[in-house]
């Protein structure tokens, strides 16, 4: 580089530096947002749209989207947290990690913040309660969804085979049996994701012991090696051994499982109501939304749980980095989350942990159905690993793969889980 060129580039750098630093002084904000969702998917789509509208009015404030696959999310968050470089907003799927971050003061207390911003009344109390329960009593993640879980089923396939909505586990197994004999895959399931299979164990024990079962495990008054757990794990393993989840279930990813159900190749699909976004999408849904029914996890013989107990959760929570919280971020949050509930329902038919002030005229039928069921729920319980440490979560989910293929006995499965829980 010759002398004049070097001089020119140096002065350009200097000028740039001055411009950047003054821009920073004007209260501008770069909000980084890390999530496993794609930019057009789930609450991320709604958040980004609302944020774009905000950026048009306040050009200095913008959201920078970052992606990490869900299987690596907690690892990534731990590394980022350890090096003090967490994003401004981030999805988080490990309640125990969220509690650790909270104990270290790394995440914003949202109850306090929302009250200060004057938008606390926008939150649905049920959702707030759920999130507090998961995070040890504090509201440190945003309930951007409010889901119930259960079995979705293909009404047409049920009618063609003269079957009714199963209400007991035996009914469910009988229905599955009938489909299998007809050459129809009874359940669509993603064994690659692992958690869709442990959900069935969680549902079974909630029916066996009642909705507080995992609270008792957490308190140490009930061991997962108890007879009822063995019964539950054996029942789920039987479904796998009989091939009811289809071939190669442990290699089936989430989208493939959704597609299998929406293309009419499987009769039933256990999943949370977040999947409505896929069901309400005509391009994906080949069997038609009117053809999809929904029933609660069936009761089991001699069990304490009832059909008024639902598996409820707020989906993948989003936490806010305390170190990056300032007035600019507060204003952005106030604007985005004031409109979030309405926007999510109107655009995606999504039920959220935010109150809806303007009910759109054309709420999809399935969304209305889920809303009705949510309203009738007497007791809610969390997913199987809701209270587990990251280690116990891994043991529960990893081992469910050899469990359903018959390579691991129910006793060994529970023994390993119990020792991971200690």
């Amino acid at each position: 580089m010759n002398k004049p060129a070097r001089f020119a580039s140096l002065s350009a750098l200097l000028v740039l530096g001055v411009v950047v630093s003054t821009a920073g002084a004007q209260g501008n904000k770069n909000i980084t947002y890390l999530t496993p969702q794609t930019q057009t998917e789930g609450y991320t789509a709604t958040l980004l749209q609302l944020s774009q509208a905000y950026t048009r009015a306040n050009p200095g404030v913008r959201v920078q989207y970052q992606n990490a696959p869900q299987t690596d999310l907690s690892q990534k968050l731990q590394l980022l947290a350890a090096s003090g470089s967490l994003p401004t907003l981030f999805s988080i799927d490990q309640p125990s990690l969220l509690q650790q971050l909270n104990a270290r003061g790394q995440v914003v207390d949202l109850e306090q913040t929302f009250k200060q911003l004057g938008i606390y009344n926008k939150l649905n109390p049920v959702a707030v309660q759920l999130n507090k329960k998961v995070a040890g009593g504090k509201l440190v993640s945003l309930p951007l969804e409010l889901n119930i879980e259960g079995f979705w089923y293909n009404k047409q396939l049920f009618a063609q085979n003269g079957l009714k909505e199963p209400r007991t586990w035996d009914d469910l197994v009988k229905a599955a049996d009938a489909f299998q004999k007809k050459g129809i895959q009874p359940f669509a399931a993603s064994g690659e994701q692992k958690w869709p299979l442990t959900r069935l164990i969680g549902g079974y024990v909630a029916r066996k012991y009642g909705p507080d079962v995992m609270d008792r495990v957490k308190a140490g008054t009930l061991k997962v090696t108890d007879a009822g757990f063995v019964e539950a794990v054996t029942a789920v393993q039987d479904l796998g051994k009989k091939g009811y989840f289809g071939r190669g279930v442990t290699t089936v990813d989430y989208q493939t499982a959704v597609d299998t159900f929406l293309q009419g190749k499987a009769a039933m699909f256990y999943m949370g109501s977040w999947v409505l976004a896929n069901f309400n999408d005509r391009a994906q849904n080949k069997i038609g939304a009117q053809n999809i029914g929904f029933f609660n996890f069936p009761t089991v013989k001699g069990g304490k749980g009832t059909l008024a107990d639902w598996s409820v959760n707020t989906g993948l929570g989003v936490a806010v980095n305390a170190k990056q919280y300032d007035a600019a971020l507060g204003n952005w949050m106030k604007s985005v989350f004031s409109n979030y509930g309405d926007r999510a329902l109107a655009e995606q038919g999504r039920i959220t942990g935010f109150k809806v002030t303007k009910t759109p005229a054309n709420v999809p039928a399935l969304t209305r159905l889920v809303q009705q069921r949510l309203d009738t729920a007497k007791n809610g319980y969390l997913w199987f690993e809701g209270y587990f440490s990251p280690k116990a979560t891994s043991v529960a989910t990893d081992n469910v793969q050899p469990l359903v293929t018959g390579d691991l006995s129910p006793q060994d499965y529970l023994q390993q889980l119990q020792s991971a829980l200690r």
Binding site: T71, S74, Q75, Q78, L79, A81, A82, S83, L97, Q100, L101, R104, Q106, G191, G246, R247, G248, V249, T250, T251, V252, T256, D259, T260, S389, P390, K391, S394, D398, N399, Q401, P402, L403, T405, D407, L408
Partner: protein
């Protein structure tokens, strides 16, 4: 040369910066990690001194022993495959294809430069069963062997062989080139003299070529074993250690323990055993090679 080496200032100037960099990026983290083995916790949860309890835990951790055994089994199988196939290819290049081996060498070497994740994705598709049959299951189905159609990567037993075959296929080109350079170095007269004495084919290889190639074969073996004992990316991309923990080697177990479970201390202890294993294997090969006089 000797005068230069006696001048400590010159040594400092020439070696110093590299040594400093090496110490910073290699030695310091190793010592750091060694220190972690007597602690437990993570940067988020904080650290606590626990003495030797991480080492004791190692002894009674079934997952650790399973991972150790899987890793050893895998390393033996894959290293043997890589070096044997590498050797066979090198002999093929040198004695049969001779000057026209360039194209074959390039083709066999190609997988070496492909990203592991891409190769693994290709193998995932090859052995897929859902939503559609992959090539392998399609072929089986087409020739009427519907009963042999299975979830190849969904069961521990078959997943092991697939990972092994993939890693052999991916790396054998590298070892073939390494051994080929050794073969090219063998003087033509030596071969010629052996031929005049009546050595041919297998006899020639067994008594002349292989002994002369021994030093480079030992080097390849050390390379290969150390690479395969530390296998990570191919398994992560192919099965992520599953189903269950059936295909989890020590590296993956260490990674999960440290970064998923947040147990940096125990993770470092596992890392230490892996380092010791690599050291042991290398020393063993050196010792064998020296005893056999090569």
């Amino acid at each position: 040369m000797e005068r230069t080496l006696r001048d400590w200032r010159a040594v400092l100037v020439f070696v110093g910066p590299a040594l400093l960099l090496y110490a910073l990026v290699v030695l310091v983290p190793i010592l750091w990690s060694l220190g972690y083995t007597v602690y437990e916790g993570s940067p988020i949860a904080g650290f606590k001194f626990v003495g030797v309890s991480n080492y004791l835990r190692l002894l009674e951790d079934p997952t650790f022993w399973k991972a150790l055994w899987f890793g050893t089994k895998y390393a033996l199988f894959v290293s043997a495959g890589q070096v044997i196939f590498g050797l066979a290819l090198a002999l093929l290049y040198a004695f049969y294809l001779k000057k026209s081996s360039v194209l074959v060498r390039t083709l066999v070497f190609l997988p070496v430069v492909l990203p592991t994740v891409a190769v693994a994705q290709m193998f995932v598709k090859l052995f897929a069963i859902a939503p559609q049959y992959g090539l392998v299951n399609s072929l089986l189905s087409a020739v009427g062997l519907e009963s042999a159609v299975q979830a190849w990567l969904g069961q521990g037993s078959s997943a092991f062989w697939i990972i092994g075959v993939m890693d052999i296929w991916k790396a054998m080109g590298f070892y073939a080139i390494l051994l080929f350079t050794g073969l090219v170095d063998i003087p033509e007269e030596t071969i010629e003299a052996a031929r005049l004495d009546g050595a041919q084919g297998w006899t020639l290889a067994r008594f002349v070529v292989l002994p002369l190639l021994a030093p480079i074969t030992v080097a390849s073996l050390i390379f290969s074993l150390n690479g395969t004992l530390k296998v990570f990316d191919s398994i992560l991309a192919l099965t992520n250690g599953g189903p269950g923990t059936a295909t989890t080697p020590l590296t993956l177990y260490m990674y999960k323990t440290s970064f998923t479970y947040g147990e940096y201390g125990y993770g470092s202890t596992i890392a230490l055993t892996l380092a010791l294993q690599c050291l042991l294997v290398t020393l063993l090969i050196f010792w064998r090679a020296r005893r056999s006089g090569t």
